[in-house]
Symmetry: none
Subunit: 326 residues, 5 copies
């Protein structure tokens, strides 16, 4: 049999090239998945400024649903327009854009094929306060297919008394999505009556949340940046006994990545609430990079800045992940 000669390897996006060795290595971790899910992971990994590096910066915009329109968009009013976010993600060179059904429906045709899309399949609002949050399912795998998405997105709240129900929902949706060749991105945000407020970002909890998402079959895990606190007394013993290093952000990121199947799942970190200081955000990206994290998901810190400022910040962050001097 023929032993086909390897074709040239080069930054994808350009025509006529294989994926990079790093992208192919990452895809190799998902060996139980069908080629469709792999192709959609590849589409995200091969798109935008970080194409081919194995790193990702994703623009998520579900704050309109999660926090309300004024809190989300008044800081930068053009962001009320759903088309704004497609354009921002495209111009910034993000790997993908994630949003709920309505926001994607409002631009998916106009920007068809221009940026990989992630349909957030559940959402939560804050008009009813609850100790144990539960997100409603607001989209379907069929919606993701008809809108041309590369992946579905889903939030779980480990620590909520409703967590089991969310696990069961994503289980069914993920099974359906994988059969249809989509990728599965899980936002794992521990919250609820099982945890203290500070515990939501405690290192043991974030690592635990990542593990749960990975065990649920997620291809891409999105978690919050972990603090150096430890929430669970039962866990504290393990951290102390084995002297797990959690002193620096890079160490904590490394521990979360390790907790995600020893680095064999893509884990990205959320930027959290808006910060005025670009430097702080860029430094976080350095910590994520140094700890072996795969990238950032930057919502409020991009679309709540004026467009040129957002583009500038996103480019600095991408430069960090690309290993270049910005």
């Amino acid at each position: 049999m023929a032993s086909p000669t390897a074709t040239r390897e080069a930054p994808p996006g350009a025509a006529g090239h294989r994926s990079t060795a790093r992208v192919r290595e990452i895809l190799g971790w998902y060996s139980a998945d069908n080629p469709g899910s792999k192709a959609n992971l590849a589409r995200m990994l091969n798109h935008g400024t970080l194409a081919g590096t194995g790193r990702m910066v994703i623009l998520p915009v579900d704050q309109g649903f999660e926090h309300g329109p004024a809190r989300s968009f008044a800081p930068n009013p053009p962001a009320y327009d759903p088309r704004y976010h497609f354009e921002l993600a495209i111009e910034a060179g993000c790997n993908a854009y994630a949003a709920p059904l309505g926001f994607l429906e409002a631009g998916a045709a106009e920007f068809a094929g221009e940026i990989p899309l992630i349909l957030k399949l559940n959402n939560h609002d804050v008009l009813h306060d609850e100790k144990d949050p539960f997100s409603a399912v607001t989209g379907s795998v069929g919606d993701a297919l008809r809108l041309g998405c590369a992946a579905i997105g889903f939030t779980i709240y480990p620590g909520s008394s409703m967590a089991s129900r969310m696990y069961e929902q994503i289980r069914g949706l993920a099974e359906e999505a994988k059969r249809a060749g989509l990728a599965v991105v899980v936002w794992s945000y521990p919250r609820g009556s099982g945890l203290s407020k500070a515990g939501e970002t405690a290192i043991d909890v974030v690592a635990y949340g990542a593990q749960i998402a990975a065990q649920l079959g997620a291809h891409v895990l999105k978690v919050k940046l972990p603090s150096d606190q430890i929430e669970q007394e039962v866990a504290r013993k393990a951290y102390e006994k084995h002297a797990i290093p959690i002193g620096t952000l890079a160490e904590r990121v490394r521990h979360v990545v390790q907790s995600s199947f020893d680095g064999r799942r893509i884990v990205i970190f959320s930027g959290g609430a808006k910060k005025d200081d670009d430097e702080e955000i860029v430094n976080e990206a350095r910590g994520i990079r140094d700890g072996g994290g795969f990238g950032s998901i930057i919502g409020r810190n991009s679309f709540q800045r004026r467009r040129p400022d957002a583009l500038k910040l996103l480019r600095r962050i991408m430069a960090v992940y690309a290993g270049e001097t910005p």
Copy 2:
């Protein structure tokens, strides 16, 4: 290649004309939808006195279910008869008539094709009082098709502890309706234990409710007229910091429209409880119009007036939206 000559553009309803530029602009916002849903939106936009203007006045009559018959119809007894409302909507030149299953079944054949119909797919009664309301699903997409409806209607109660369940219901119904080429109208009425009574119409809450409905994929949003109150302390900061103008009704309407995908979704405003003073209602319409709202949904203030009075009032309201002196 042929460059087809544009046919005449004129007020639709007349034979042999294209939709107006404004109607076609509005339809352009729904680019992810199939031609069926667009055609049904067009049917509503091209019907009645306001045909072609991009504005809508809809007659909704679900009070019999929601409040009971005597409270609803005793003020104007001919309104007990389901045919009365079809005739009122037709004679007044409304864009559409919305009602629950029973009311539509009682007239859809007799008035077939004479007015676009919206089947309200969920309803709530007050025989059992609850702090966190939940509407029962009382119709199906199949019902809407067999009754010849242009759209389904659905009420969500953001702020209710049952909100998630309603979001999940409309998600499934909307996906099915869109596949069948129907339009989707969502009544977003924040209520429930998460909100104070005054908070139900607070500007931040109304805008948030509109955003949620739009994110759920509604084509047409129906909200209450907002007051200048702010309900959520976390939102107050945004309103104050960004000095969002909410002093006049027109300013508040403009903010709600902006919160509905920057004006790229049709938002109409409900008239609320019956008022004796026509002038007050007409003035509200002026505020809605001046703020860029798309129209009114006038239930109790039409069918609870005697027929000639209702027709007179509805015509004055339509004249406001048409930009004419009544």
Copy 3:
């Protein structure tokens, strides 16, 4: 109980009017149908120049599939463009436009809601010659719904050895269409090894084809103009014994209408091959009108003329049906 006052009756198309008495009489013949099918029949009857008269002129364009593109469109090259036919039907004030899937997909969004559409669900080409023709099913009820159609269209060839298969296909499609509130239009064109060439338009055969379509549950029947020949010897006896008048076109049309449930089904007549003489076509319309026919379906004689000529002819035909002097 309230005895609702009748609202004004006036030519539809204008806002705020009931259907005319004639349209309501016609709809009354379809008493087994749901309001959706009635509404879609009403949409066609209430659209265009003949709105409200109970007469219909429909533009059908399936010749591209049936005869090939050059034979169909070279006489008037702008007709190669699918948008041309939407515009022609709209500008001429036709009641509806009928075409196969591809042609409707190519314009249904752009002309959404501007003209009632009929999706032809089967088609036949002449690249393979056969004595017993069979049309392939080329669209579905789901397609009709997603494209916003008012009706499905289907051709049967009574006289073909394949006729039973086509009857069974339309049976299933009609049941599905009616459940979804669509109207059903059947082209009944006797052809095949059971008939002589002249027999295809023999009065006994055309009347029989109309009866079959009506018994299959069609709402609207489309047949060819009948000649005064009689094809079936077994039928000749009945025509002679009962002295059925078939000498003039009007008499033959009257017999076909009578054969269609004694005039209680809408029967329209096809214009057939292109004729250069407008007068001849207009005279045929006079015959159809005088015999109680419901209208014409004018394909090649409209889109194969230059646009101004087609518009002029269509307007003359409509004037005949409207009972006016053109």
Copy 4:
């Protein structure tokens, strides 16, 4: 309301750019389709050397099934390996690679996301000879999704006595594919007892075959290069009367493009049997380009050449379509 600033337009493939104006114009022809199908069309149009030009060169390899392995691959033995064709398509910068189920399964994971794939859903072999060919359905829409394909492909044989059955098969498959957001590519190859051998590529027959595929709802039509013969006597009259120019290849291509909804459907032309002379093939591409054709599908003339020769030829063809001097 926000008027979002247009982002930069540039050759896609590079990160952070909108599709070109030409690609967006082409996507605009498919206005009845959901964003998923548009995105998959965009993926093909935005991939490879011709990305953004609106032109396409596709590598199809179904000859193993259609003609047998030795006839297909012995001329260039590395082509027995399914991976060879993925690599060839990638290295040559083709817009897409089309093959039957087995060939795609044998490489879709390894080359995930590196080239848009078209799953050929029906195939025909020559071990049983028939006058009226009929291809067996050999794949499903579910297969296309699990393999990460951008489109399904399907062959029809107008002129075969089995044509109706193939039309009905693609009807169902296309409806399913479009709902799932895939693109639909139809190979229209007139053949069978209704046609002479020379008639298979007669200009009237090729144009008719293109029209049929377009009416069946294909997004991309693939036809054979037409000769200047006319097969159908009934068509000859139209060609002569209207003096349709068919003397040069460019004129014939122009007529086929016009017959494909006046140029509003993507039509590409097959290269046919292997030719030794590169110049002849390149000249054909010039004719296709000059006549407004959208590109070529080059199977045997690429994979039956040695790899460097194939790459050289494909690059010359692409240079023709790109309007550059090779």
Copy 5:
């Protein structure tokens, strides 16, 4: 057009009585059926002039489809109107009215609940002549339910090369009908290349056809009046050896009834072509009655007579079955 005379209005059935012993005996033969099918049999047996006697006279009108409109209705033109037949069946006091889809749709709402309906689920026309007839399925069990029918009707042609296909169709339809609680009436009319023309009514063939219908699970069998001929040589031996009496009509009827599960299935006999002599028809009824037949199905001999004549004849026939002097 016919202006149908109003039929008598009176309390239907008599209120407050059990079925007669005879009806309950007959229902006892169908002990494997669910109460729904039994109730629908009871509805037919308990309706009209013969209610409670265990005898039935049914009006069938499918000749419009089977023979064409002029041959069917020109002898008595009011019969072109579908309402005519409902009225005739009601006024004559028939047990049921049987017709194809179109005819039932055209009156089922207007005459709702006034006469048990049988939807003929297959039909055949004579525009294509064939030696081996096959009826197309033209209605469904769903249609029968939505039209409020008591039973489905289906024709089989034992002796046709297509017979197996019809047996398979009625098998499926009967299973579905019985599950839905409908009764099943089978017209068993031997015809086709397996039989001589005279053999179609030969006593051995008619008895065989009845047996087949009973074995297929029919509740009610409809057969032709048998002649004293014997068609099958293999059967002749049995008739001769066992000296089966077939000399008189009553004897032949008795043999057919015996062949229908020894009289434990309802067998009714068709009147055949129109006869001018009432006496002949009445005498046939006497023969059927005397042979233990359950009744007659009288089509052409009723609706092809003028209404008063038809009513007179039907009343004479019913008087025969009721055992009274007319």
